[in-house]
């Protein structure tokens, strides 16, 4: 009868490691083969599932989201793989779908860039992309946009999702918003787009010079806002277009 220690005292670290090594060596080749077969079967099943539900994945955003969550949790990246858009993409035709959405996002960002200086509110982007796609496009969610923008990264055009005081915006120019501009943008969002020097002085304790410089730069240098010289209160107000709410 073997006398192996049972209990904590009997645990010898080195011994344990050695025992595990012995164990792994004894997993036979047949077991590895078996494991591979399982994985292949699993992949086949998943492939079958994906192609069966391809249309639903394309048209139903919550289903699509759940599918992507599932892929992530089992370690499958729908966009990875040697081929463009990935193996999944090819299987589902999702690559085309993603690509098409990416093109539409770029389209909207470029055509509104002069109006908003390269910064567009997520909701506005979704609205305009949906319009482009029409009824047959199916509904697009913020999640879809975020995923699609990830695929635009290699373009190096600087497309990024940024958060400005709780509001998601998409930036399409390679220009970092400096801190002052971010503050102004946040303030603008609270007031339907309108900002005046005095707001920054009173509410953020800026000097008049700092306020004026920041606003004038946004206006003249960066084209991020429009001027209103008939403002009743101060005669001069700055309207940040990306913070203004437009009815459809």
């Amino acid at each position: 009868m073997h006398r192996r220690g049972v209990g904590l005292a009997a645990f010898d670290r080195k011994q344990t490691t050695k025992r595990f090594e012995e164990l792994s060596n004894s997993i036979s080749q047949s077991q590895v083969t078996h494991l591979n077969n399982q994985l292949t079967q699993f992949r086949t099943a998943l492939t079958h599932f994906a192609s069966t539900h391809r249309d639903k994945i394309k048209s139903d955003p919550s289903f699509r989201h759940a599918f992507q969550q599932m892929c992530t949790s089992i370690g499958v990246d729908p966009l990875a793989g040697p081929r463009k858009g990935g193996w999944w993409a090819e299987l589902l035709g999702l690559g085309d779908w993603q690509y098409e959405l990416g093109v539409q996002i770029v389209d909207v960002c470029v055509s509104t860039r002069e109006r908003n200086g390269g910064l567009i509110e997520m909701a506005e982007l979704i609205r305009m992309v949906s319009k482009l796609r029409g009824v047959s496009g199916g509904s697009i969610t913020e999640d879809d946009i975020v995923q699609s923008i990830k695929t635009l990264e290699p373009l190096g055009a600087g497309y990024q999702v940024v958060d400005i005081s709780g509001r998601k915006m998409v930036r399409s120019v390679v220009k970092e918003l400096d801190d002052d501009q971010t503050t102004i943008l946040g303030l603008a969002q609270e007031h339907g787009g309108r900002v005046v020097e005095d707001m920054l002085i009173q509410r953020r304790q800026w000097s008049r010079e700092r306020a004026r410089t920041a606003l004038e730069n946004m206006l003249l240098r960066d084209g991020l806002c429009w001027l209103d010289d008939q403002d009743e209160e101060y005669g001069r107000a700055y309207w940040v277009t990306s913070a203004m709410k437009w009815e459809a």
Partner: protein, 190 residues
């Protein structure tokens, strides 16, 4: 505080940009101002077509009149200043959607919400469908017909341009008549 469209009392739908206070200010950033001019151009031509207006003058920005619904927005207390309007008119002339009329001044333009070439077709079509081909007509009969036509009230300079275009394709001929100018329309020999 969403900026919305608005339907005027004459039934014209103003775009939501017209509810934005800065829209009335001439923008110091040239790229931004280019957009502003483009939007005003579209709006002006659209309104002119809706009301059948042909002339726009810098002074229309000041006096009340046909253009009030567009050149001001009393709901937000904004008006388009004459200097800005003047700049917009220059832009329209440069784009050939308007022309300074009379010539050699810059305070008044004739609007081409329909291009002279298009007017030519409309004119020829009207002469044809009202059975007035090959008859000599006075300009007055064209601008003031008994039954309203698309050509009713068309300004004479524009009418002349349209006729000149038709003459080039042998579809009209200006005739000198007793009290002024006349024209005859025909279908070109095939």
């Amino acid at each position: 505080m969403a900026l919305s469209t608005h339907t005027t009392s004459t039934g014209f739908l103003l775009p939501s940009i017209h509810s934005a206070p800065p829209f009335f200010t001439q923008q110091p950033n040239p790229a931004t101002e280019a957009i502003v001019i483009e939007q005003w151009t579209k709006l002006i031509l659209s309104y002119a077509r809706h009301r059948n207006l042909f002339y726009l003058r810098v002074e229309d920005a000041e006096t009340g009149g046909d253009w009030d619904e567009v050149l001001r927005n009393d709901r937000i207390n904004r008006r388009l200043p004459p200097t800005h309007l003047s700049s917009i008119l220059a832009g329209m002339v440069a784009k050939n959607v308007a022309t300074y009329e009379p010539a050699k001044q810059t305070r008044s333009v004739l609007l081409y919400w329909r291009l002279p070439e298009e007017w030519a077709e409309v004119l020829h079509q009207w002469a044809s469908t009202t059975g007035q081909m090959n008859t000599i007509m006075t300009f007055y009969e064209i601008t003031d017909p008994p039954v309203n036509s698309p050509l009713t009230n068309i300004p004479l300079p524009l009418l002349r341009k349209a006729i000149t275009i038709l003459a080039k394709s042998n579809r009209a001929q200006i005739i000198a008549i007793a009290d002024g100018e006349g024209v005859r329309f025909f279908t070109p020999a095939k």
